[in-house]
């Protein structure tokens, strides 16, 4: 039995359908991410799991039990708020102890458990501080300790890293992941940052306009996106509307730019996607005969150190190419306006629903 089952949940605010027939499950101990742009309904969905707002339709089950009518304070779920929501009039210890005191935990146990939670987030020395006297990263840790100290079955994290600067964010991503593994609690993270979701989550649900577009492991979403929207939202992609030259069953002969190749596609219209790093820039070497090679002109060079992002034009068709700077002088040899040869494997082309 999954830990959480969300079954056909919808929620509207006025005429806006914030969450539209969403179904998904979260397993025990899973790190799950809801990913989507702001306003896609991910926060509304998370808040409904916490008990803030009830679904208009559908149900939310926790370990098989319908949560309808269960108020937030009776749900074995805790949430880390985006603003952290630390109580400004209480010090760090009392903030973390708040939930235990509400639960009626014995005094001696409260002390031990708060200490343990603070140790877990490396904030032992800060028990007497007021939230105002903490940095952003420290507040985030205290909020995390406060949310895990009650040992919830599911921890909800609303944009947990959004308020941190970039370097701290990267460190904290790793720490969150490690913490989740140590505690064995299922985490549900809401985020608009695809890198964050990819690096931390076991599975991701990509949301747009209240609907779930696709659910899958990060690598699945990246390498096998089902739709144009997912391909463009996760990572970078060249997306084409191909000309279909011929079809036999599920095989289709497609034409883009000057290239013709075969793909496996379901009946009906489809788009094609090709990740920039799947396109190779050929130097002197002779291309593998299985690859499709094209002549291109460099329109723009974005040098990023480890990789060079190229915008090239091949027969009027603009393409993004991401070239790994595997040797020292690779990037230095290229300049704007150069004619180059590029190649890609038709097997790397993704078939997307429109």
């Amino acid at each position: 039995m999954p830990l959480v089952s969300i079954e056909h949940v919808s929620k509207s605010f006025g005429t806006v359908r914030a969450v539209d027939d969403v179904s998904l499950t979260i397993g025990e101990g899973e790190f799950f991410a809801l990913l989507g742009p702001s306003g896609c309904g991910k926060t509304t969905l998370m808040r409904m799991i916490a008990g803030f707002g009830a679904p208009d339709q559908g149900r939310i089950l926790l370990q098989g039990r319908d949560l309808a009518g269960v108020p937030p304070h009776n749900r074995p779920v805790n949430m880390m708020f985006q603003s952290y929501a630390l109580f400004p009039h209480l010090n760090v210890f009392d903030n973390v102890a708040f939930g235990l005191r509400e639960e009626g935990v014995a005094k001696a146990d409260i002390f031990a458990r708060v200490e343990e939670a603070l140790r877990l987030v490396q904030m032992q020395g800060f028990a007497r501080r007021k939230p105002d006297a903490l940095s952003g990263g420290q507040k985030q840790r205290v909020a995390l300790a406060r949310a895990v100290v009650k040992r919830p079955k599911l921890l909800l994290l609303d944009e947990p890293l959004a308020a941190l600067d970039r370097r701290l964010r990267e460190e904290t991503q790793e720490e969150l992941k490690r913490l989740q593994q140590t505690l064995g609690i299922a985490f549900l993270v809401v985020t608009h940052d695809q890198d964050e979701a990819m690096m931390m989550a076991d599975r991701i649900a990509v949301m747009e306009k209240g609907c779930v577009l696709q659910i899958g492991a990060p690598a699945t979403l990246y390498e096998e996106p089902k739709s144009r929207a997912v391909a463009k939202f996760i990572g970078d992609a060249n997306v084409f509307d191909p000309e279909i030259r011929a079809r036999i069953d599920d095989r289709a002969l497609v034409h883009i730019g000057v290239a013709n190749f075969e793909v496996t596609a379901p009946p009906g219209a489809f788009a094609l996607g090709l990740r920039p790093e799947k396109i190779r820039v050929l130097e002197q070497e002779r291309a593998d005969p299985d690859l499709i090679t094209l002549d291109a002109t460099i329109d723009h060079i974005l040098y990023r150190g480890d990789v060079t992002d190229l915008r090239v034009i091949t027969n009027g068709l603009p393409l993004r190419v991401s070239m790994l700077n595997a040797t020292r002088h690779k990037a230095l040899r290229l300049s704007r306006g150069d004619a180059i040869r590029i190649a890609f494997d038709p097997a790397d082309v993704m078939v997307l629903s429109v």
Binding site: A50, G51, F52, P71, P72, H73, N74, V77, N78, M79, F81, S83, A85, F87, P88, H89, F98, G99, E102, E103, R146, K150
Partner: protein
């Protein structure tokens, strides 16, 4: 440097309309009552110079204050005023907090309208509104009449001409002065804190008492000051709603000034009242600064 003249304006204002009248009242308090027009003889004149003032304070100036202390009427009136003002303030707080809370929680576009509803009644004359309360509270008044019609009571409740009427009058008159500072504090609160408390296992009620309420102490203190201080010296409410035996310092002051024409004694009462008000103010200020530490 340019800002200087601008900053001076409030100081000039305070000097002219606050400090100068205050000095006049203080000087009056140290004067002698007389059959004259105006009915006092100054013990201190501005031309004497400070050195002689100290002698004169010892010789005579404190007479009015000695009278205030020796005559139990004044002490009783002050205590009674403190009691009634405190009861009234407490009632205002209890009424105003839920109102301010509801307005702060209302949708943003409705808040101004709701605040206006609180303030609009106060655009009509204060006197007329207090007279209206007489019509409501008196034995044959609207409230008693209705309760008797419905058969809930046999005889009229004693709502008028006593301390209860004064407390009701204070609670009614000063409501906006409590609602507004409370609203200003509540409106700035981060409501996700209340949600966080509920998420951590607190019921709505407990979340309010443990998280929201403690964060509004500034608004509560501001509201108490705005209500208690003027209510302490209130004259119209006890005069119109209170009974003949009601003692409030404002009423005593008024009768000393207008009935007995003892201006120096009235001024001494005013000064004593000022000192009596400074004490709670100082205490609250201390509480306030401790709260921020």
């Amino acid at each position: 440097m340019r800002a200087r003249p601008v900053i001076l304006i409030p100081f000039i204002w305070l000097g002219l309309f606050f400090l100068a009248p205050l000095l006049i009242v203080v000087r009056l308090a140290f004067s002698e009552s007389a059959q004259a027009r105006p009915p006092y003889r100054p013990v201190f004149s501005w031309s004497d110079g400070f050195a002689t003032w100290i002698d004169k304070i010892q010789a005579f100036g404190l007479d009015n204050f000695e009278l205030l202390l020796s005559e139990p009427l004044y002490g009783d009136a002050l205590l009674s005023s403190v009691r009634l003002a405190a009861l009234g303030t407490a009632l205002v707080l209890v009424l105003a907090y839920p109102i301010a809370y509801a307005i702060a929680k209302a949708p943003r576009d409705k808040r101004l309208f709701l605040l206006t509803l609180i303030v609009v009644p106060f655009w009509t004359s204060f006197l007329i509104r207090i007279y209206a309360w007489i019509a409501l509270l008196k034995p044959e008044g609207l409230i008693n009449h209705m309760l008797m019609q419905m058969g809930w009571i046999r005889a009229p409740l004693p709502l008028f001409g006593n301390d209860l009427a004064i407390v009701i009058g204070i609670a009614y008159s000063y409501l906006p002065f409590m609602v507004l500072p409370l609203y200003a504090t509540l409106e700035k609160l981060d409501w996700s804190l209340e949600e966080a408390a509920r998420d951590l296992g607190a019921t709505r009620m407990r979340a309010f008492w443990r998280v929201t309420f403690p964060q509004t102490h500034r608004g509560i203190i501001a509201g108490i000051l705005l209500v208690f201080v003027p209510a302490l010296g209130e004259f119209i409410i006890p005069d119109l709603l209170g009974g003949s035996d009601t003692l409030m310092i404002g009423k005593v002051l008024w009768s000393e000034f207008f009935n007995n024409r003892d201006w120096p004694l009235a001024a001494a009462i005013a000064v004593a009242l000022l000192i009596a008000m400074a004490v709670p103010l100082a205490i609250l200020r201390n509480v306030e600064t401790e709260g921020t530490r």
